[in-house]
């Protein structure tokens, strides 16, 4: 029987089926072999259960899918916005631009806030604020919880960790540590609750959990059938789950310890670019190329809201919640940011100002501001507040606000 903890994933011909696939290095009867994940499963499941054959498995599969649909439908007794009918509607959003950061030489692809709420790390097509990476596209970046390091990666298929230093002259590239290795681009990365572990997602269709110190692969997550574009960790302290979204239009929830895919949601009509947990951890939102954002509740096990408008036809690239979960900020490829009332399903604000696609939207950890990064080379930080409807007749702000 093979040992299911494997140390490295390489790519090449499988020793069993000879196809070129991502390989697991395992021991078979004390001999090291390289099997693809399918052949590993085949070995583990040798021998069919009484009466099983392809036809009966297919039939069971169809039956289970139908049953899942029925079970989910039975519990669909009300829409979220109906349940929220009596909630006071939000008034006008008044925002103020606080910072416009123009240091990037190229498109901003990703940002992350430091837990001290004052610093941002961002990555772009060529360089990021802290270090210059020896490759052209840095697609993912993340701050370590301690604020002492950042992780980033992209088309180099790796995730590297750079310790941060107050000494501006220090050559940070020299201290970089390669932690993760995928067989395709790195789309997202995130530290877990400590500086010691990193979760990554990749164009190779997998997510993986790595030990920063040794670079060892601790767990890998298989289940997506195409590039995984985004991931987000559940907010609870003891949380051991995360959600991922990808080009297979699916959003999957995973158990970090076992690698098991616990729940799967497939209602989007195109690639899911961004996933983000609701602050309570009971739900998550997604932004997709199908021009909609959706809210999925984990305990009801279904989609409970769609945030869309006929006038919005460009994909949503990035989503984030305000800290109460009432507002959903979503950046779109038509250069705007739409702000949605999560409970009522309505759009409460549209923010202009970027001169190119908005690639990333992040609310600061204490919720006082949100930052948007764009292909127009800038990062804009804004604060704001909602006036209640009774306040609005004393103000004459229009419904749309410029980011500049």
């Amino acid at each position: 029987m093979c040992d299911h903890t494997f140390v490295a994933i390489t790519f090449g011909p499988c020793d069993s089926c000879t196809l070129n696939k991502p390989l697991m290095n395992i021991y078979l009867q004390n001999e090291p072999v390289n099997y693809c994940s399918l052949c590993v499963e085949m070995m583990a499941c040798q021998g069919l259960t009484q009466g099983e054959n392809l036809a009966s498995l297919k039939a069971e599969s169809e039956g289970l899918k139908l049953r899942l649909e029925e079970e989910r439908a039975k519990l669909h007794d009300v829409e979220l916005h109906q349940a929220a009918e009596k909630v006071e509607p939000l008034g006008q959003l008044v925002t103020k631009a606080r910072r416009s950061l123009k240091g990037h030489g190229n498109k901003v692809l990703c940002t992350d806030w430091c837990r001290d709420k004052r610093r941002l790390v961002s990555s772009s097509q060529v360089t990021e604020h802290a270090v210059t990476m020896p490759c052209t596209w840095v697609m993912a970046c993340a701050y370590a919880p301690s604020g002492c390091a950042i992780a980033c990666g992209g088309l180099d298929n790796k995730c590297s960790v750079y310790p941060l230093s107050l000494d501006k002259n220090e050559n940070l590239s020299a201290k970089k540590k390669s932690v993760a290795m995928h067989t395709n681009y790195l789309s997202a990365c995130s530290f877990t609750n400590s500086d010691m572990q990193i979760l990554t997602s990749s164009g190779d269709g997998t997510c993986a959990l790595w030990d920063v110190e040794s670079g060892q692969l601790l767990q890998s997550f298989h289940g997506h059938s195409a590039d995984v574009l985004s991931l987000d960790l559940a907010p609870s302290e003891t949380g051991n789950t995360f959600v991922s979204g990808g080009c297979d239009k699916k959003a999957n929830v995973w158990d970090m310890r076992s690698g098991q895919n616990i729940q799967s949601f497939e209602t989007h009509e195109s690639d899911i670019n961004s996933v983000k947990y609701y602050p309570s951890g009971d739900a998550f939102a997604t932004g997709s190329d199908d021009a909609t954002c959706r809210l999925y509740d984990l305990r009801a096990d279904r989609e409970v809201a769609i945030y869309s408008k006929e006038s919005i036809i460009f994909g949503a690239s990035s989503v984030d919640f305000s800290i109460s979960g009432r507002l959903l900020f979503a950046g779109y490829n038509d250069y705007t940011i739409n702000v949605w009332d999560v409970l009522k399903g309505t759009r409460v604000s549209i923010l202009f100002g970027h001169e190119n696609r908005v690639s990333t939207v992040r609310v600061s950890p204490d919720g006082t501001a949100f930052c948007s990064g764009s292909w127009d080379h800038t990062l804009r930080v804004r604060t704001g507040r909602y006036l209640s409807l009774s306040d609005t007749h004393t103000h004459t702000h229009t419904h749309t606000h410029s980011l500049t």
Partner: protein, 72 residues
């Protein structure tokens, strides 16, 4: 690849799919009305602490324009 191993890999794929679906079918679910009520409660309970909803006084705002003082 022999026909036999093509068949057995299809079989394993089907077994994996059924295993996953069985797992998904077995999880406990709540009614949407219950889930929606909880989402609503969370929002309302935390609304007063949400600076993007209620705003923060200028003195607490970390992003306010820095004031300078001149000493004569």
């Amino acid at each position: 690849m022999s026909n036999n191993s093509a068949n057995s890999s299809n079989l394993v794929i089907a077994q994996k799919a059924v295993k996953q679906l069985r797992l998904e079918a077995s999880i406990r679910r709540v009614k949407v009305s219950q889930a929606a009520a909880d989402l609503k409660t969370f929002c309302l309970q935390n609304a007063s602490k949400d600076p993007l909803l209620v705003g923060v006084p200028s003195s607490d705002n970390p992003f306010r324009p820095p004031k300078s003082c001149a000493l004569f």
